[in-house]
Amino acid sequence: MSGTDNGNGGHSLRWLRRAVMMPYFWLLLFFLAPFLIILKISVADPIVAQPPFTPLLEWGAAGFEGIRVTFSNYAFLFQDGYYGIIYAASLKMAAIGTLLCLLLGYPMAYYIARQPPQRRQILLLAVILPFWISFLLRVYAWIGLLNNRGLINEFLIGIGVIDRPLAMLYNDFAVYLGIVYSYLPFMILPLYANLERLNLDLLDAAADLGARRWQAFVDVTLPLSVPGIIGGCLLVFIPAVGEFTIPALLGGADTLMIGRVLWDEFFINRDWPVASAVSIVLLLLLIAPIMWFQRLQTREHEAAR
């Protein structure tokens, strides 16, 4: 158990109790309040004004007169099939991207976890290192590779595998590649943490008992690494659903992901109430995976103590 209100800490804790009010109010003002405002705007009518939505609370001459709530923005989302398709497409793209990430990340984490400690550190560092270089620029780097006249096409044509360039950029393929590339470290780290803790004696025991390597993996390692798999997948899936930069730079005109649509709804159509309703629905979709992830984290915290 961590340190608590024990005798000699009393003074410093009083100081800390007072000091924590600052970040507390900061978060109430800049995190919770904005969230409530977006909820409010999502039930307001759009009007041509600045700001372009009707106020929630109506103040008349006699003071407070009532609350205006409209669910027309939500109704619009559901009646207009467009948004349903986009939500489904975003979830699908994030899910496939996550799966591809797992297929590549698992063998990497497994391999790293089985190296001698010195090498493990280096290999792990090599996974994390690109994270420190701008995300935007790393996504951008793929444009030069995937282009019709990019390095990969020129190379494949050069060695005679293909004679016309493959269309690899501005389509769903490029977005999947972008997701795998950008989120690979987030998949590998929880998997590695899990696989590294895994008791190798169990594997040896399985081998002693005559299990073949593959069988030992399927029967022992894989089931034991399920928490790592879930953690890694959620860590990739949750941000991938609302991803903006990757579909905006690598996706095609028909790559509809909700982050990008929300951006357009706001910056191009300027329909704030609909943009707010779009984000509330996105959050509702993400609540289940987020809660799942939180529970996993708390369990991990408790296990670590």
């Binding site: 003074h11 507390y24 904005p34 990497m108 090599a126 780097a141």
Partner: protein, 269 residues
């Protein structure tokens, strides 16, 4: 059971290639004289020279650096306080709300964070007349808010690994709480504070989505400028910027690893 099979090794090699080939290709082509990406026109530094003449780009880079330094510093201070309070104060009032608000930004889609903060700033301007203009200040506030969450994660993991008996000894020897905090606790937390600061700095320097929402007409950060350029495809001067950033990161990582290897006996992670 050592994982030395050939298929496994080739998947791992592919994974590392995926991580590094794009970065390396950008570095190589930043020295390319030709405007065309695939055509090698000989070694040249012309794209670096053109960066130096691009005033808009230099302004954007300076603005981003300023925002990153200020927001990382505030985020580290506020985040460390939250981490300490959550870790040490057992009966903290509103604990559940605080820990909820501090972990939520980690999983909140940034597009929603950006949109909701913009609405807040507009409502505040409406109600109390501040902030009249959105720009560096509003971007800094937004960055402090989301990077604080990352600082808390880093500091908390350090706190749970830390030995508290040193602080208790200092208290027993009659040290005043504030003195003990700054002379004992802060030095012990230093590695976490430094990595939390660097993380917050990087996140701020890198942020495109949230900045785009909360910025005003006058303030363009480096990612916003880069995004506007690369939306139209590959531009060689962006290759040069990328290379400079890679070089800076490499220097920072090398310095950090030298410093931490010297400190190893004390830090004992």
């Amino acid at each position: 059971m050592k994982g030395r099979s050939l298929p496994l090794a080739s998947v791992v090699a592919f994974g590392y290639a995926l991580l590094y080939v794009p970065i390396i290709s950008v570095v190589i082509y930043s020295f390319n004289d030709s405007r065309l990406v695939t055509l090698w026109g000989g070694f040249s530094l012309r794209w670096y020279a053109s960066l130096l003449q691009d005033d808009k780009l230099i302004d954007a880079a300076l603005l981003s650096l300023r925002i990153a330094v200020v927001s990382a510093t505030f985020a580290t201070a506020l985040g460390a306080i939250v981490a300490l309070a959550l870790h040490r104060v057992a009966r903290l009032r509103g604990r559940l709300l605080l820990s909820g608000m501090i972990t939520a930004p980690l999983v909140m889609p940034e597009i929603i964070t950006g949109l909701s903060l913009l609405f807040l700033f507009i409502s505040m301007a409406d109600l109390i007349g501040w902030p009249m203009n959105r720009g560096a200040t509003t971007i800094t506030i937004a960055h402090i808010t989301f990077s604080m969450a990352y600082v808390v994660v880093v500091v908390r993991s350090r706190l749970s690994a830390m030995d508290e008996s040193l602080e208790e000894a200092a208290m027993d020897l009659g040290g005043r709480p504030v003195t003990v905090f700054f002379d004992v606790t802060v030095p012990m937390l230093m590695p976490a504070l430094v990595s939390g600061w660097l993380l917050a700095f990087t996140l701020s320097l890198d942020d495109l989505v949230i900045s785009s929402f909360v910025s005003g007409p006058g303030a363009t950060t480096l990612p916003m400028l880069i995004f506007a350029k690369v939306r139209l495809g590959v531009t060689p001067d962006i290759n040069a910027i990328t290379t400079i950033i890679i070089a800076l990161v490499a220097i920072a990582v090398a310095t950090a690893s030298i410093v931490s290897s010297r400190r190893r006996p004390v830090a004992a992670d």
